[in-house]
Amino acid sequence: MNRLYLQFYVTILVVLAVFVGAAVLLWRLADDDNRTPQYLDVAAELTGALLPDRDAPRQDQQRAIEILQRKLRFDIALYEPDGDMIAMAGKPPPRFNPKRARTGWQRGPGGPNFTLELPDGRWLVARQVRERPNPAFWIAAALGLVALAVAVAAYPVVRGLGRRLERLKAGVEQLGGGDLSARVKVEGRDEVAALAASFNRSAQRIEELVAAHRLLLANASHELRTPLARISVAASLLGEQADAKTRDSLKRDVAELDQLIEQILLASRLEAIPTLEQREPVDLLALAAEEASHYDLGDGEVEGQPVTVSGDRLLLRRLIRNLIENAHRYGGEGPITVRVTRDAGRAVLEVSDRGPGVPESERRRIFEPFYRLTGGSETGRGSGLGLALVLDIARRHGGDAVCLPAEGGGSRFRVDLPVA
């Protein structure tokens, strides 16, 4: 049972059931203690002794019974030895059967009867007058009604509390899912309402902070790219006066810095958006060829078969670029091979290099942001976000990225994606 309101409700019902059970039990125990008092025995015997003889006229007998009934407040009936009624006062007694009758107290439907066989063979049956027929029944019924009322009244309260908590949970999940505009309705003035209000304040704060953060990044991007733009234009203005090597190296540095800014911006933007913003069919092999044309693959090449995946073209381009960039940076001078294949309904992209490779213990960790290989050199450092972005983008598309050893040495980065 994992619904809170059900737990509450069942607890209330169980408590009520225990309460009613205990009440009935107590009443029963009290009833047992309250045995018919001894004075009734004496009263009955005296009554018998005071009655007129068996031969006396019926009217006398009837009168004597009525007097006794009034004085003792008993319902009384007098029978012949064969069971015929002689006289009766008060409420009519239940049917009397002399064959089964015996002297003494007996429980009956209308309460305890006292039956007495007189010395002349007549039977006297007395019954205490009762205002209510059976108090046990009424007490149980009253308790049952109270229990029912409590159960009925408690349900909406408990269910309402459960509903409010569920709405609060939905709000928290919406926020956690990345929708920072998620707010919940504040109902009432109790602790749940206070929690809802406090959640709303926190969500507001988070939204403001993230917005400020993104604005800061956008501004930082603008501030960083403004001087870059100047350098880029200045490099072109140098024209033929400058030596081509210096100019090209300058342009490469500008491009590198530009890429770095873009990676950081992209990483922070992806953090804020949990799903893909747009999808289109993308020919992975063509995209890989396009990206690879901007790099020197050595003796390596782009090979494989055209496979179409459905995804965000810009993100997939970034994924491929980062893998090739990574192979370029850490794969030494050897050839870089890019392969696109289809394997069991998945599109598989592999980028292999002939570098020193990655030790097995670190093959998972290199996908963490800013993780560096132990003992790696300081030269040729990237943003530290490249592979983290690769994994993020692959997962976002319903795929995965792993680092494997390449046959003959080096690393093989393998990304698989669902085919469109």
Binding site: S221, R225, V233, D283, L285, A289, E303, P306, R317
Partner: protein, 243 residues
């Protein structure tokens, strides 16, 4: 390197007057120098307010507008300007988010360039929007890939605004590739697409034509970036040539 293009003004941009609205005075100064060398007359305004004043005083052929201005949002400025004027607008931005591009063009900007940019590309794009303005509606039939323009109407291909010589069969081949940019096309598929085309006097293989086209439109035909070969599979025309 194609820097010589910047120093060769052609007739259509000879007297083109450009207004650049950007608060980065040093960048604007350099762009002014660069485009000046290419035959443009560039006026610089540091704020949206100054820019508006200059637009009222003088007629410009095109506008280079920065997205982030000290006194206004470039997008708002662009939207406002569009209500009264159809001067071609090229937006400059450093944000670099793909959204900006769509928004900028939807608001009526004619083109968009992200900072940092190659001045050569700025010049090519300026020429393109100026030419489009001159050509009117017919110019809609031009495909653009970064610095490359394929004019389907005139069956001409231009790089950095300059026409490149290719034969009509080669143009058909280039167009077949460009219309399927970003997809791998096998030789057979290409031959199928070109069935209707009149063959050249010497029927050469697709590969030879491709290398001719490359010689015309690639910066370095040995390291092609626009038409790529996938050994044993076919060819790809690069979809994103912006960088």
């Amino acid at each position: 390197m194609m820097t010589s293009g910047a120093r060769r003004p052609d007739t259509e941009t000879m007297a083109a007057r450009i207004l650049m609205i950007d608060d980065d005075a040093r960048l604007a100064g350099m762009v002014q120098d660069y485009l000046g060398g290419a035959g443009f007359r560039v006026t610089v305004a540091g704020t949206a307010g100054d820019g508006e004043m200059m637009l009222k005083r003088e007629a410009f052929d095109a506008l280079i507008l920065d997205l982030m201005l000290p006194d206004a949002d470039g997008l708002d400025f662009c939207r406002r300007l569009r209500q009264s004027s159809d001067v071609p607008i090229l937006m400059l931005t450093a944000r670099g988010e793909p959204m900006d591009r769509v928004v900028g063009l939807e608001l009526g900007a004619d083109d968009y360039l992200a900072k940092p940019f190659e001045p050569r590309e700025l010049q090519a794009r300026l020429r393109a929007i100026l030419r489009r303005k001159g050509a009117g509606a017919a110019a809609a039939d031009v495909m653009r890939f970064g610095r490359l323009e394929i004019d389907r109407g005139a069956r001409i291909v231009r790089l950095d605004g300059e026409e490149r010589p290719i034969t009509s069969y080669q143009f058909a081949l280039l167009l077949a590739l460009a219309e399927r940019a970003g997809r791998v096309l096998s030789r057979d598929a290409l031959m199928d697409l070109l069935k209707g085309e009149k063959l050249e006097a010497f029927d050469r293989s697709v590969d030879v034509h491709i290398s001719r086209i490359r010689a015309a439109i690639e910066d370095d035909p040995k390291k092609p970036r626009r038409i790529l070969t996938l050994r044993g599979t076919g060819y790809v025309f690069a979809k994103d040539q912006d960088r």
